[in-house]
């Protein structure tokens, strides 16, 4: 039932509005709304009950194992939420002066410093509001850098074919054309192809490392040499940073610019789609171009650096300073982990992924890159199962829901047929991984013994499999009453 279907004309939730309607005669009639908007007229209890019950229809980290590859669905510590929502922190107006927020700014400054350290970059700006905006900032800085040097012929960004879709989309938003670089059979960037592709038109290369295939680019040092020698810059997509946090710094690999997904590696909540936070880090030569504002510490006080301090900045990306409350959560998480805890993130994320990969391979599942170490994630291909039973990766994914597990990422990366991209993260226990393995084995049994049941899964969710084609063809995007 929709909230609108609970609505009754003239029902009012009187506790939630100023007690008397004020008269606003000074607003000219021709600018005034004639009909009230279609908002529900429900009691406070109706709304609380409706949304509480809706929430129960979701899978989430707080209720289920959620091994969604490339999404780093790890535990979001409750303290981060509670402390980021302290009343004074919530009440501060973004346009109030720095005097009113020295405590808040201290957290932001400390976070910048910690991110510099873990990425090995010279400077950080926290302002991008999600990974994709961080990518935008990064590529825009690459562009600004070349432009500032008068090196304006560089029109192309290189992107491996396994990359997230955000990479090419971002390059285009920054006015570049995109050239895809193929992947070799081991999951690495094809070096020959890369060499053939670079040149004076190369603005840069965007790389995820470990890649979306779940493996570390072994030739990263050579890759960076090839790109740098061609005069291009190296962009590090931080989507998979959880795999190397505390083990390898992107700066040490030779990257010039990087974004982080704090909602992945620094465990801020995914919130059903966001908000994220996508800080960018840069090497020294790119620092002047960082998006504003940036926090500076001067004589024991914190202040914002703006366009006055950073005239070469690529500019402002959000009205204020980005997703401050999310940055606070990341700060709190980072302080709880500390240096030791950060080292452990990659270690245990990798341990879990390799354990899961080893057990599944042992159980007869086809691992996409069996000769490689898994990073924090790895790929299983179900092509053989599909050929033998007609059961697809999608069917298996849906059946996993019935078994109480969120599905891994399916059909990404597109290079591998019938793939499941599995990322357990470091916060899951061995016992949970074992239960997941058992469920996958059961489903494989079912694929042979009861294929129709698997094909029509899920059977225990609030709805059965949904008609996506109808959704796109007969668009119903808002309730009309």
């Amino acid at each position: 039932m929709l909230i609108f279907e609970l609505s009754q004309a003239n029902r009012r939730n009187a506790a939630q509005a100023p007690s008397a309607p004020a008269v606003c005669d000074d607003i000219p009639a021709h600018l005034r709304r004639k009909q009230r908007p279609l908002l529900p007229e429900v009691s406070e209890m109706d709304a609380v009950r409706h949304y509480t019950r809706l929430s129960q229809k979701n899978f989430s980290i707080d209720t289920h194992f959620y091994p969604l590859g490339s999404c780093t669905m790890k535990y979001n510590p409750r303290a981060c939420n509670q402390l980021a929502m302290l009343p004074q922190l919530l009440a501060r107006h973004p346009m109030s002066s720095e005097n009113t927020g020295q405590g808040f700014l201290a957290c932001m400054f400390d976070l910048q410093e910690m991110l510099k350290e873990v990425t090995g970059m010279a400077a950080v700006s926290l302002t991008p509001m999600a990974g994709a905006q961080g990518e935008f900032a990064g590529v825009a800085m690459i562009r600004a850098y070349h432009d500032a040097r008068g090196d304006t012929a560089r029109s192309e960004i290189l992107v491996p074919d396994a990359a997230h879709g955000t990479n090419p989309a971002t390059a285009v938003m920054c006015g570049y054309t995109v050239r895809e670089i193929p992947t070799d059979s081991d999951g690495n960037v094809d070096l020959a192809a890369l060499k053939a592709a670079v040149g004076p038109h190369t603005a840069g290369l965007m790389l995820t490392n470990p890649s979306t295939l779940g493996v570390f680019e072994k030739s990263i040092q050579e890759i960076q040499r090839i790109v740098h020698e061609a005069g291009g810059l190296l962009y590090y997509d931080g989507a998979n940073l959880n795999a190397i946090l505390g083990r390898v710094k992107p700066g040490d690999m030779g990257f010039d610019v990087i974004h982080l997904n704090l909602h992945k590696t620094f465990s801020t909540p995914h919130g059903g789609g966001g908000p994220g936070a996508g800080p960018v880090g840069v090497s020294a030569r790119l620092e002047p171009f960082l998006p504003i504002p940036v926090v500076a510490s001067e004589g024991g006080r914190y202040r914002w650096l703006t366009e006055k301090d950073r005239p070469q900045s690529i500019g402002r990306l959000s009205a204020f300073m980005g997703n401050a409350g999310i940055l606070l959560r990341a700060y709190i998480y980072a302080r709880m982990l500390g240096a030791e805890g950060m080292h452990r993130v990659a270690e245990f994320a990798t341990l879990n992924a390799n354990y899961l990969m080893a057990e599944l391979a042992q159980a007869g599942f086809d691992v996409a890159f069996p000769k490689r170490r898994a990073s924090h994630e790895f790929i299983v291909t179900l092509k053989r199962l599909k050929d033998e039973t007609g059961i697809s990766a999608m069917d298996v994914a849906k059946r996993l829901l019935d078994k109480g597990f969120h599905a891994p990422t399916t059909y990404f990366p597109m290079l591998v047929q019938e793939c499941l991209l599995i990322e357990p993260t470091e916060t899951e226990s061995r016992q949970m991984l074992d239960a997941f393995i058992a469920a996958l084995k059961e489903i494989r049994e079912e694929a042979y013994s009861q294929p129709d049941m698997v094909k029509s899964a899920p059977h225990t969710m609030p709805v059965r499999r949904l008609d996506d084609v109808k959704a796109a063809r007969e668009l119903d995007l808002a309730w009309k009453g």
């Binding site: 029902r11 107006h93 957290c107 989309a169 938003m173 402002r316």
Partner: protein, 464 residues
């Protein structure tokens, strides 16, 4: 090990199954030269008790101010139920609803969100949120240029929030789009009918950055007559009182965007907030961001799913409508609960009380000799005042009294002189308004009476 459940037994058993002697070995494909040492720049870990103490101390040292600033972020009451429900683990810790059957909670809620936003703006369809109002405006500009096909010029009035204009410029400048600044009528503080012809879109802010009400019908019809699209940039609370963009002029705006913060997002130093975007049905395939559709399941039972994904970067890659992936789902969740709790009547009361408070504040402040309104135009819940003392000094002195007195316009609009943008939402009482008035009066009088006063220097972590 905080947040890592492995026991020593687990670790040994797992390594044995993998067939490696140590965790270190799992990183053997990484060139040795790249391995980082200790993270010396990161402090030691703190247990929750210690970080709680640190954060509480920092928050308390920042304190809490009586706030009369708006300028794009508005202090409204947020019902307690909003965040108690939005932070339930099932909403808070879920991912983007890619597995629809296991995400009906989020999906239905966002469909309700889209319904509410469509209705509030008077548009046909809504997406499920963008990052914030400013970046949302940039997306709207890109969308309008895509839709228009022939022109890449967009008219951007100076009455649009200066930070929004900066953001739009940052985001669209690489795509050969020309942003044409439109001037405002210095008496009325609203956009004068421009002389432009060839343009893809006109942005109309309502209310504009000065709080002033633009002649939206006139501007909309004019833009449409020139063959341009109209992008309405609106405050969602204001829409409880003002004509929604979908009804501007004879055909309505084509795209409506804005900052969703007034609908349930705390001020929180500037974020997270959320951008909303609505448009006409015909433009839906040009819209960026996630969109939820209602459909049916195998049994014909209604259900909800992500739809029109072919627009998005994970399918369309370089040809996507935008690179956006994560949005501000949790804030949209809060906004939906917020709007459900307020209802149409509640939202209207919030809007009218906010407006009435600002009118009352303006009257009181303008009774102070040396303070006057900058514009004659009608406003919604925000207004520009001109002082005969430096605004920066006045704000500093007010801050010393625990008051955030508004936004200093002098650097962005030097032509307005010592101009201050003030706002009093429904959260302000008559006593609050009185307090602000008394303090500003005292400050202006003292400044006008004596010699230039010594500049006050704030200490760290104090409200001096």
């Amino acid at each position: 090990m905080p947040f890592i459940p492995h026991t020593e037994d687990d670790i040994q058993a797992m390594l044995a199954r993998i067939g490696v002697p140590s965790i270190d070995q799992l990183f053997d494909e990484i060139p040795a030269a790249l391995r980082s040492g200790k993270l010396t720049g990161v402090p030691q870990g703190m247990v929750e008790m210690d970080i709680a103490r640190l954060m509480t101390e920092r928050a308390e040292s920042d304190g809490r101010f009586l706030n009369f600033a708006g300028a794009g972020a508005y202090e409204h009451h947020i019902p307690a139920a909003v965040w108690q429900i939005a932070t339930r683990g099932e909403f808070y810790s879920a991912y983007t609803p890619y597995q629809a059957e296991a995400s009906q909670g989020t999906l239905q809620l966002l469909y309700e969100f889209q319904t509410m936003m469509s209705s509030l703006t008077g548009m046909d369809v809504s997406n499920a949120s963008l990052y914030d109002g400013a970046s949302g405006l940039a997306e709207a500009v890109l969308m309008a240029v895509r839709a228009h096909k022939t022109s890449r010029r967009v008219l951007l009035p100076k009455t649009v929030h200066p930070f929004y204009r900066q953001v739009v410029n940052s985001i669209v400048k690489h795509q050969k789009i020309e942003l044409v600044e439109l001037d405002y009528d210095p008496a009325k503080g609203i956009t004068a009918l421009p002389q432009e012809k060839d343009f893809a879109a006109l942005v109309i802010p309502q209310p504009n950055f000065f709080g002033c009400l633009e002649e939206v019908d006139l501007l909309t019809d004019w833009a449409h007559a020139q063959g341009g699209l109209v992008i309405g940039l609106v405050n969602p609370v204001a829409l409880a009182l003002l004509t929604p963009p979908g009804q501007w002029g004879s055909k309505g705006a084509d795209i409506a965007v804005g900052e969703g913060q007034p609908l349930g997002s705390p001020l929180s130093s500037g974020g997270p907030y959320f951008g909303f975007m609505c448009c006409k049905q015909a433009l839906v395939r040009q819209m960026p961001g996630r969109i939820i559709g209602r459909t049916v399941d195998l049994d014909g039972k209604p259900g909800f799913t992500l739809t029109l994904q072919a627009r998005e970067q994970h399918i369309r890659r370089a040809k996507a409508t935008s690179n956006i992936c994560s949005n501000q789902g949790l804030m949209a969740t809060a906004a939906t609960i917020h709007m459900a709790l307020l209802g149409p009547d509640g939202l209207e009361r919030v809007a009218s009380a906010s407006h009435a408070n600002t009118v009352a504040l303006t009257e009181k402040l303008c009774a102070i000799p040396g303070v006057k309104k900058a514009f004659a135009q009608s406003v919604f819940h925000e207004t520009v005042l001109q002082l005969n003392v430096p605004v920066a000094d006045a704000l500093r002195a007010l801050e010393a009294q625990g008051i955030v007195g508004g936004f200093d316009l002098t650097s962005h609009y030097p032509e307005l002189g010592q101009a201050l943008l003030v706002c009093a939402t429904e959260t302000k009482t008559a006593a609050d308004i009185e307090k602000f008035t008394e303090q500003l009066k005292r400050i202006v009088e003292r400044r006008n009476a004596g010699p230039s006063c010594t500049k006050l220097v704030p200490g760290p972590n104090s409200k001096w």
